[in-house]
Symmetry: C2
Subunit: 325 residues, 2 copies
DNA sequence: GTGGCCTGAGAAAAGCTTTTACCAACTCTT
DNA sequence: AAGAGTTGGTAAAAGCTTTTCTCAGGCCAC
């Protein structure tokens, strides 16, 4: 205990927290000695009193996923400056496990909870709506009157298709995932708007092989072939690029291809590297973290859905312009 | 407070913890009422007294990585049964950030720390050797007298090469990552032992494009071509498979290919899906979690390096035998 | 009938920090 | 020089559990 080395016990607290009245040189001395003996206050005791644990819980059902990781990095990044740590709880769509983790977080007096997932239009398998701690949703469906952060898929898709139009492509096809995904419908909607229905939308699954198949299907059809592909994710785009290469079609010379997600490991390793749409998930996580912190501190936050803009990452699969950055 | 609804205050504690002496019906009544009002003890107060926070810290420098995620899932999986939660701290090779996180964990009285990384032969950029809490290393280089868990890369490589031999391959080449990786040398060593130096080892980088290049290099050489490839990771294997296909060489008919890591997203999406070596990282995490818990509870644990066996995942890139599981 | 023992339950302390209240001593002011 | 105000610091309470100690009452035995 710092008081042993210093002077008293409550004086030490006031010295270290720059609070209360005391002699300047006493304060300095206590601080110095505390530093020397490496004294660090016990956060448990502090939390017990202040009702703040400087801890938040992150609940995700996307264990192996590419979505949660960037979101998490953003949250952690935003909160470390405020001395807040993050409990990560992976709940594989298991309601019981989820409840266990939520209870454990509540027992540990988390200041707030962030729920995140792998899909915008699905709820986590646990009800967080009537907790006595603030809850923020990030990249997952929230409840009524909650704060929810999500990517603006419509704007992202528009970015992609407008880029293709801008570099001179006219017959743009859209190969994407299952139609029951909200994101898929939003992106397809934007595609229709911008591209003007010139080509049909091909709905499928989120895999490379579907990208392959879709190309076969498109090139089997009579008439003019597409000169650009807007793909629902990078894996589909990669499958498509590979299929085109096998047919001797040059990317980006003959066909421009654009993906979605900016999943580096796929997008950057494709030949040629994929131009794609980044959902800025780290920024999304950062904002979610800051928001849950604000709520925990009692600052008012307007409920509602916040759509964060996507960003186009230009690599080499579109041509038209040399890659930047 | 449960005591308000029940009878006293310390009696409640004893009732809920099945400790102390008291009437059976009193105990039942307290428990029932506690259940009804949804009483849950404050873990902070409990931790303050018991010196156990039921919290451990997980430190990783592999933010986006495929290694930390399974390890983490294993840890979480093993500890949730014991009521222990996990603080995840991502420290991007930044010593200052690492120190901040370690200090925060210590302040929060974690019962132990698990350090994990993306490479067996590198240390985290922070010294954890003289903490007053137990530290366990998982998939990263530990300190003297510490407990370290790692995959047995030699055994894994042997598994792979022996499989190739068993299905009748004789000219097995090894395309792998940078030679300064410990894992690379271990795997190469096992390859040499089992394959008997029939083919040279090609050292490069951990990317698909290196897999491509390596194939070009191998097929440019005069003389007999390899009939099997043992690749240092799944990405290299994928690059190699793609390069072979482009040359009209059939996998697995003409050449068997085997990868390393069992990174589903690469291995399962390759055409044909890759046979590969799984390092059982989730099991590794599970054991690390259980071990740090044992240390936290004062149970003795023998220091040293524990090598966990790898497992061969048979898919379709080798032929020889139909895929299982 | 009384002393000893057992049972059931409550009182109190401890764990560590922060905050409020308080006190002793000192310095002005008049 | 005495009262008022200021200053520097301490004592104590609160926050919530758990654990140990104590106590009151009932029962049995002698």
């Amino acid at each position: 205990m710092a008081s042993a080395a210093g002077v008293s016990i409550s004086t030490a607290s006031k010295a270290l927290n720059d609070t209360g009245r005391m002699g300047a040189e006493t304060r300095e001395r206590v601080k110095r000695i505390a530093g020397e003996i490496g004294y660090r206050p016990n956060a448990l005791a502090r939390g017990l009193l202040s009702k703040r644990s400087f801890t938040i819980g992150l609940l995700t059902n996307d264990t192996y996923g590419r979505f949660t990781l960037p979101v998490m990095a953003g949250i952690s990044d935003a909160l470390v400056d405020h001395g807040v740590s993050v409990f990560l709880c992976a709940i594989e769509d298991d309601p019981d496990l989820a409840q266990i983790h939520v209870d454990a977080m509540l027992d540990k007096q988390v200041d707030g909870i962030i729920a995140t997932g792998k899909r915008l239009d699905r709820r986590l398998p646990v009800d967080l709506s009537n907790l006595h701690v603030p809850v923020v949703y990030a990249f997952t469906e929230g409840t009524q009157n909650s704060v929810t952060f999500r990517s603006d898929d419509e704007q992202g898709a528009r970015l992609a298709v407008e880029w293709l139009v801008k570099i001179g492509r006219r017959r743009i096809a859209h190969i994407t995932g299952p139609e029951d995904f909200f994101s898929v419908r939003e992106r397809a909607g934007a595609y229709h708007q911008v591209a003007g229905h010139r080509e049909p939308v091909l709905y499928g699954v989120w895999s490379e092989s579907w990208g392959h198949e879709a190309i076969e299907e498109l090139w089997k059809r009579p008439g003019e072939k597409p000169d650009a592909l807007f793909c629902g994710n990078d894996q589909i785009a990669r499958g498509a690029v590979d299929a085109l290469r096998e047919r001797g079609i040059k990317v980006p010379l003959d066909v421009s291809v654009i993906g979605f997600d900016n999943w580096e490991i796929v997008a950057a390793q494709t030949r040629p590297p994929l131009t794609t749409v980044d959902m800025e998930l780290k920024e999304l996580g950062r904002q979610a973290g800051l928001t849950v912190l604000a709520l925990a501190e009692g600052r008012p936050v307007e409920p509602g859905v916040r759509k964060l803009p996507c960003r186009l990452i230009v690599r080499q699969s579109c041509g038209g312009k040399p890659p930047r950055e």
